[in-house]
């Protein structure tokens, strides 16, 4: 049931954007400030990554549902559709650690850094 609807270009009022941005920044700042006041002492670090996660490497992913090739042969540009990379999101359920697989766009800064590091390590 594909329909093509000629859409009006949604007009966003610049005044509205400016107001909204101001409120958003204020909220961010207020959040930061309150944390600085609230937490005098540094928290203890509890960020161990479960060892069983350190296996396999970054997977390529083309579009949803298809399993991408591994390796870096294919460049990001030039091929239609955005390329995604598979990551494991680490979350806590109560005290249990859990990971869920997600796909993130390859151009996300999170991936970029990992890739650069990997590349650097390979060159060494």
């Amino acid at each position: 049931d594909k329909v093509r609807v000629r859409q009006k270009v949604a007009k966003v009022d610049p005044q509205e954007v400016a107001d909204f941005d101001r409120e958003l920044r204020a909220l961010m700042q207020e959040s930061l400030d309150s944390r600085k006041l609230e937490l005098r002492s540094r928290p203890t670090i509890n960020m161990m990554i479960p060892m069983n996660l350190f296996e396999g490497s970054v997977k390529e992913h083309h579009g949803r549902g298809t399993e991408g090739e591994s390796g870096d042969e294919i460049t990001d540009e030039g091929i239609g559709g955005s390329k995604e990379v598979q990551v494991k999101v680490l979350v806590k359920r109560g005290n249990k650690q859990q990971t869920k697989q997600m796909y993130i766009p390859r151009d996300c800064s999170l991936v970029q850094s990992t890739k650069q590091k990997e590349a650097a390590e390979l060159e060494e």
Partner: protein, 823 residues
């Protein structure tokens, strides 16, 4: 149990979406929505920007100053409150992702203080690329998906102003809905209808209050219509139920009684009888205004009393509830109608789509008359388009064309076809024609109308249930018989009976090719689980938009609206709602939006002389005659037509109009007397009463004519009693061989009232097959341009006459200048 017995009650405005629908736009995709985790809020929002700079969830959090969210249980991460992996901070404005330096593992970490703890660097975490959860006023899209373009198009198009308003309202009333913002105050004029709507929510915001107004007015009118001192004539029906016959007087401005209506009959009691009351359904209305009421309970009826009863209306909200329900379904259920139809109905610019179906070689259907060229064209075009309009001027074979369309649709194997019309009469006619093609038809009647006799009795669901001849059904039949004999069943038997009956109804309905019912009937709970991809609505120009929507929201992909916007539209009783545009049909709005109706062009009803003026005035002269002068000559009928081959004349009347006894209507004695003379002349020349129809727009005149003819008629009283005297509106969709039209209005300075509506004039002029006589005052009527045109037409053809009926002479009466061009 009756029509609405098992319907849920809809309260408009309380937009009950799926719980996790975005409270701004209604998007429900679990991958796209999060719940605000503030305990007093807990509302869901999506990650689309819509018409604002920030996404809906970010908009909400900023405006409400809320800071925590939880993902949906069916989202990729499952039900998860977003929080810092290290310290548990839940403020989304502080959260962001970091990744492990070597592995593809990411976690949420707060910016303050955890991000600035150096120890993390030593633990394989890369802190340099902290990636905030909210970026560019939107949640990270890989975590919280942005709804697809299609999803966004079907969603509510909320503006920044509306967001600000609703957020403000939520501060004092957390359960408020966007509809509360739009709801007009008690004394406000309602929002008027418009050609285009942003989305189905805006559509609902406009129509729901109008339907509410009409419902309130209808309720007020009906409940105030109690009549006392009613005289009853008692009878017993074939089903052994008590039937009360009585005359229920009516007036112009009051609601007409129709079969299926519910009335309460009361007797206040006397020395020999206790007070008594019972509710029943109207099963018959006679031409003499006599009502037949079938009573629900047969115990304790004071059948030996005949006088002093009272009658009240029992108002039912069923039809209005179903309209409100259909509008809600249209908005929140994206499977209710196809995307194409959704956008088209709302007036969005949709790229033209064709229906890919192999066309039949012949466009006619078995059991129906041969189709003419314009009918074939209509059938062919309709089968290829997802939305089409067919305009059927009077007598052009709308029903046959519709039946042929339905026949071909049913043969395409896309499931059952749903066929509707606003009135029961039209549904019956269609059901009959469609059945003639050999298709299996089920005519679904409201439960309150099961006792009303129907010309297609054998097609009705209740009849088929009773007469289904299989051994498995013997149990049901046994219980049915018991129920008929005893009037009621034991509660366990009743339960069993109901279950069996429901199962049988479903079985029969599911095996049909076509289901026929009224538009309101399409909201019957018995069809709740049915889906219809193809829907045809006849007489669609006589129903309001929300009424038309009821049959459409059952999954329609292809819709055919048949009607004629040059004839009378839906009757709206509440002036406020009518002024706001509730009387405009969906058909008309689609015409305004540029959908070109396919017009049927050959009329088979009127003598060619009678069709000439309507064709030129209402159909740009396109109406062709499918009947010849010879076929419309009535041999042996000796009637003093002024021009022998033109069976029509305008009979000049100068008698004054009067206010009727009720004070709310008009009558005209001279016209009434002349109507009697004309009727008598017809009868004497060999015309039978059933061939004659007397049309008058005023109830006062209608009652006066009926009365006058039966008292002063020169022939047997019974003959006059058999002649139908009725309003223009009640003649719509019907025909008579001879029509006498009494215009009534005759005054110096006032207007011509009902006759001002060109559509009413069109209907009045196009009911006759063989001949028409119009009685009126040309001096008054000629002020209106259309009437001026009609009078000129009659004069030019030497059919404007005066004098005694047996010596008619051309009238030289001067016309007035028409006021302005009618548009």
């Amino acid at each position: 149990e009756d029509t609405g017995g098992d319907d849920e009650v809809f309260e408009y405005g309380k937009g009950d979406f799926t719980e996790h629908a975005c409270r701004y736009c209604g998007v429900t995709n679990p991958a796209c929505v999060v719940r605000c985790n503030v305990p007093s809020c807990r509302k869901w929002f999506c990650n689309s920007r819509g018409n604002t700079s920030g996404s809906h969830i970010v908009n909400h959090l900023v405006r409400a100053k809320h800071k925590e969210v939880c993902l949906h249980k069916d989202s990729p991460l499952g039900e998860t409150i977003l929080e810092c992996y290290n310290c548990g901070c839940r403020n989304v404005f502080l959260l962001g992702f970091i990744s492990a330096t070597t592995e593809s593992v990411v976690v949420l970490l707060c910016r303050e203080p955890c991000l600035s703890v150096n120890a993390l660097k030593d633990m394989n975490w890369d802190l340099s690329q902290w990636c905030p959860l909210i970026d560019d006023r939107c949640f990270l899209q890989w975590l919280l998906k942005v709804p697809s373009e299609q999803e966004q198009l079907r969603a509510r198009q909320i503006s920044a102003q509306q967001i600000n308003k609703i957020e403000e309202l939520w501060k004092t009333n957390p359960d408020a809905t966007l509809e509360d913002l739009e709801k007009p105050g008690v004394d406000d004029e309602p929002q008027p209808v418009v050609p285009k709507y942003e989305d189905a929510y805006q559509y609902q915001n406009v129509f729901a209050p109008l339907i509410k107004l009409e419902a309130d007015y209808d309720k007020m009118m009906k409940e105030s219509q109690s009549k006392d001192s009613i005289t009853i004539r008692w009878d017993i029906g074939l089903n052994k139920k008590r039937i009360a016959y009585f005359v229920f007087p009516k007036e112009d401005n009051e609601i007409r009684l129709v079969t299926g209506d519910e009335l309460r009959l009361r007797y206040s009691g006397d020395a020999a009888h206790p007070s008594w009351q019972s509710v029943g359904h109207v099963i018959k209305l006679t031409a003499q205004e006599e009502v037949a009421l079938e009573l629900g309970a047969s115990q304790g009826v004071p059948v030996d009393v005949n006088h002093g009863f009272s009658v009240d209306f029992v108002w039912k909200s069923t039809s209005f509830d179903r309209m409100q329900g259909a509008m809600k379904t249209f908005a929140v259920d994206e499977t209710s109608v196809s995307g194409y139809i959704y956008h088209h109905l709302l007036g969005h610019e949709v790229e033209m789509q064709m229906v890919r179906n192999t066309l039949p070689r012949r466009f006619g259907a078995p059991g129906l008359p041969e189709l003419n060229a314009s009918q074939v064209f209509a059938v062919k075009s309709v089968l290829q388009k997802p939305i089409s309009l067919i305009q059927g001027p009077p007598g052009t074979g709308k029903t046959v064309t519709s039946a042929a369309i339905v026949y071909h649709m049913a043969k395409q194997g896309q499931g059952q076809v749903l066929v509707c019309a606003p009135s029961n009469v039209a549904v019956d006619q269609l059901a009959e024609k469609i059945s003639a093609t050999g298709l299996k038809v089920v005519r679904l009647c409201a439960k309150s109308r099961e006792a009303v006799s129907s010309p297609v009795e054998h097609l009705t669901l209740h009849y088929q249930v009773r007469h289904l001849d299989t051994s498995e059904k013997s149990e049901l039949h046994k219980l049915q018989q018991l129920k008929d004999e005893q009037g009621e069943l034991s509660s366990s038997d009743e339960k069993k009976y109901k279950a069996l009956k429901r199962a049988t109804e479903r079985e029969i309905s599911q095996s049909a090719d076509v289901i026929c019912c009224t538009c309101v009937g399409a909201g019957d709970p018995r069809l709740a689980n049915f889906r219809f991809r193809q829907v045809l609505i006849d007489e669609s120009t006589q129903s309001t938009e929300p009424e038309c929507l009821i049959p459409l929201v059952l999954g329609v992909k292809q819709v055919v609206l048949v009607g004629d916007h040059c004839q009378l539209g839906p009757v709206i009783m509440c002036k406020k709602a009518a002024r706001a545009g509730l009387a405009q049909s969906l058909f008309e709005r689609l015409v305004m939006l540029g959908v070109k109706p396919i017009r049927l062009q050959v009329q088979y009803r009127m003598h060619p002389a009678l069709s000439e003026f309507p064709s030129n005035s209402f159909y740009e002269g396109t109406l062709q005659n499918g009947v010849t002068v010879n076929e419309r000559q009535s041999p042996g009928i000796d009637f003093p037509w002024p021009v022998p081959n033109r069976p029509m004349f305008f009979y000049v009347q100068m008698g004054q109009e009067e206010i009727s006894a009720s004070g709310t209507s008009y009558l005209n004695r001279t016209e009434a007397a002349n109507v009697e003379k004309i009727v008598t002349t017809f009868l004497k020349s060999g015309v039978v009463p059933s061939q004659i129809g007397v049309i008058t727009p005023y109830e006062g005149q209608r009652a006066y004519i009926v009365n006058y003819m039966s008292r002063n008629g020169a022939l047997r009283q019974q003959l006059y009693k058999e002649i139908e005297v009725a309003s223009v509106d009640s003649f719509q969709g019907r025909e008579k061989d001879y029509i006498i039209l009494s215009c009534v209005r005759s005054n110096e300075h006032q207007g011509i009232g009902f006759l001002n509506d060109p559509r009413r004039l069109n209907v009045a002029l196009t009911r006759a097959r063989y001949g028409i006589v119009i009685l009126g005052n040309p001096k008054v009527l000629s002020k209106q341009p259309l009437w001026n045109g009609l009078l000129t037409h009659y004069k030019e053809h030497e059919c404007l006459v005066e004098g005694p009926l047996n010596n008619l002479k051309q009238s030289m009466v001067q016309f007035q200048k028409p006021k302005k061009i009618y548009n």
